[in-house]
Symmetry: C2
Subunit: 469 residues, 2 copies
């Protein structure tokens, strides 16, 4: 330990190496439930690429595991510390190095906060679409690590679509540059995309070239109330089948709506079983909104309320963004699942989730990026009640099993981390797991980079799949 911090300090300023257990303990975990976290030996806060290289060289020399961290808003335990590890927090590397409206790129350090970047590029008439719910806190490095999504994805896709090139410090401290800063480029294997979503298990991103888009017009939304989840999902099916390209197509179930009203007095319609929000950001959204309103009515909507203007549309979005914090107030703890199914299976997914909630006598609120088939069932429970905690855990897993059964994936945008590691093997199958372990070994032969996350490899410093806590 003495050796480790001493060596780290040889290449880092004193204030960038934290060893006080009261302080380092606060870097132990991200926002995932049900995931074990260890006690870091040391937390480092580098400000330069060279400092990150020094950290990784030191880690390799001493065979100490490294856990890279952003803002720790992740929901899969990917940023949780392991006992005795170096926590490598990238939050001090927070400079926007370049915004170029001709190339439509931004070059950023990993610690830049998503919303800070979004506002900075907006001043140039540009937009960085990926908008996870935590966008006011989460960092671009974290977004890249987890391949984050958000509300925008139904029209604009996920983080992977916006990463053109990376500088990555490898486990042994070497600097790898991937990709390009041009609009196109196919020289060699796509190493850039391999790092997106790799949760810090292949290398540490220290710089990113991001693609930007011209800022679209402000979006105009409508809200539609449905007597059943099935009816709302039928509307989603029709909206997508008819070729509409909403900038947002979100669903909240009755539990969500009531929770949001209770938190923020939004006056959402409490008697609806499913509230669908649709928005368009085209120069003239009226024809699309009218067509979508008609499709909602045809599918059984009891009421369709168009927003008067952009400000009212923003309020509807705000209501949707409040769903998670609102549900978190219902019980002492929440488990947020992230199952993405084919759009035509969305109704089955929602109905199945409701059945799981009933079977376990639990409150499970569901909000969904409905246009993507990406549901977030939020299991609300009291961890102090062992039986309720057990039922919560069981329901969480049953929801993933249902997602796979319906042809979906265990994670649409939150990642695997610790939480879903065993499920990844079920989804991917043995051949893909072997290939993934082979790739991990190419980048991290000693198994020092975020060990035990995403997948286990022989010889790694895995902390294993945690029991329910």
């Amino acid at each position: 330990m003495g050796d480790l911090t001493e060596l780290l300090r040889e290449g880092l300023p004193a204030e960038a190496v934290l060893t006080d257990p009261d302080v380092t303990g606060s870097y132990g975990r991200d926002m995932a439930g049900f995931c074990a976290a260890g006690a870091p030996a040391v937390v480092v806060l580098p400000r330069t690429v060279e400092q990150v290289q020094h950290v990784l060289r030191t880690a390799t020399a001493l065979r100490v595991p490294v856990v890279p961290q952003g803002a720790r808003t992740g929901l899969s335990g990917a940023a949780n510390a392991t006992d005795g590890c170096i926590v490598l927090s990238l939050v001090k590397m927070d400079r926007i190095l370049e915004i170029d409206p001709v190339e439509r790129i931004a070059v950023v350090e990993p610690g830049v906060v998503n919303a800070v970047l979004s506002r900075a590029v907006a001043e140039h008439g540009l937009c960085y679409p990926p908008d996870p719910s935590s966008w006011e806190q989460c960092t671009i490095g974290g977004n890249i690590g987890t391949a984050s999504g958000g509300l925008c994805c139904v029209k604009y896709g996920v983080t992977a679509e916006y990463v053109l090139g990376l500088d990555v410090v490898l486990a042994d401290g070497r600097l790898l540059t991937t990709g390009r800063r041009t609009a196109k480029g196919v020289a060699g294997y796509d190493l850039t995309r391999l790092f997106v979503g790799s949760e810090g298990s292949l290398g540490v991103v220290v710089r990113a070239v991001l693609a930007l888009r011209p800022a679209p017009p402000a979006q105009l939304a409508l809200a539609a109330e449905f007597p059943s989840a099935a009816a709302a999902c039928e509307a989603v099916r029709q909206i997508m089948a008819r070729g509409h390209a909403p900038s947002l197509l979100e669903l909240m179930d009755r539990t969500c709506v009531q929770a949001v009203n209770s938190l923020a007095k939004m006056g959402l319609p409490e008697t609806t079983e499913a509230l669908l929000l649709a928005a368009f950001d085209t120069p003239d959204p009226a024809p699309d909104l009218a067509a979508v309103a008609a499709l909602c009515t045809d599918a059984g909507a009891t009421e369709v309320v168009p927003a008067e203007d952009a400000a009212e549309s923003d309020l509807l979005l705000e209501a949707r963004r409040l769903a998670l914090p609102a549900l978190e107030r219902l019980r002492p703890a929440t488990m947020i699942d992230d199952v993405c199914v084919p759009r035509s299976q969305l109704a089955a997914m929602l109905e199945g989730t409701a059945a799981i909630a009933r079977a376990h006598d639990l409150t499970i609120g569901v909000c969904a990026h409905a246009g993507d088939g990406n549901t977030h069932p939020v299991v609300c429970f009291d961890p102090a009640d062992p039986d309720e905690a057990r039922r919560a855990r069981a329901s969480f897993e049953e929801i993933m099993a249902l997602g796979l059964e319906l042809g979906g994936t265990i994670t649409g945008e939150h990642g695997v981390g610790l939480l879903k590691k065993e499920w990844l093997a079920r989804e991917a199958g043995p051949v893909a797991m072997e290939v993934q372990r082979g790739i991990k070994a190419v980048f991290d032969p000693l198994g020092l980079l975020n060990p035990g996350k995403v997948l286990d490899v022989p010889g790694d410093h895995s902390i294993g799949f945690p029991a329910a806590t």
Copy 2:
């Protein structure tokens, strides 16, 4: 050899195993110049996944290299045979298995021709954007192998954006399934994207889940004539900086324009130094077209001619699509380069290319996906004249060097293959090359899959970098 064909025939119908040298010889190469090609031992034309597995198991058992092929319209030699190899042609696996307008996906076999798929999805009101010039011949499997682009990319991106999941037969015959058929998914490392652009060197794609988009309105175009390449590039810069999203933004130099007129009597303006084509496919393209026309005039355009309607717009596109065949008629042979630079360096790229042509006393016509900074300098020469061939080769390489110097990439969309293998190492650098060789070894430890393409690995059956032919 007897062993090889005998073993292959155990799992393939007789008509799927070709050994007549007159026939197999015709499978020797793709459309790249300057690339060596060997004589295949055998050509196989499987129709099922199981047959492909049988071919690869046989190849592994006998340690025979395998060269996967689509329509052989590639421009980098990636599909060229090596002496004694099995050519694995996927063109008979040409079924469209599924088109789903709700999920907005198509599931296809690798031999489906790009244009066939485009027409099939159009019947469902959908669109598969990637549109390489060879779209009437090239296959989806080849498009995936080379990460193809096209005219659409400035708005819709490249093939990588549209591949959601793959079935891949690995070198040892095992079947790997990657990705998903949902709109989103981040479970594990992005193996799907790793295969896109890997030129058959990591595995053989036997099925693909492709993302589709709603078909946009027919595009409306304009043509602008410029007195210099620099003026046209300044217009491109302004168009992109002002946030326009053209569905096409193409440039043809004077050599191209004259060649197209000579081939097809299109009546394009022969005195212009650079012709810029811009198009929009929005519901109301008029405001964008008017703004772009004004930007062109400001940048020095001598004439701006808007197309009257979609039919006239299609004619302009047709002129652009004829550029390559037209240039091919100028001299006995052509070498097509594919350098992509930052948009702000496009003028420097074009001027530098013109200087290279003058220095070597060669005709080099340039067409460019200008909105992407992706230039296609076409070196026209007579291979029967050794000095001219030498100068052609030298100019081709100088163009790549210039592209790298300007911050660009050696290949925007054609791939590395044999042609640019040494240049890949220069662009990517030693760390990236080591990582890429490591990845190759994970998938193909015996070096049997398309050996010598993209990169050389120890122990592979490389045919090396070819001398000028």
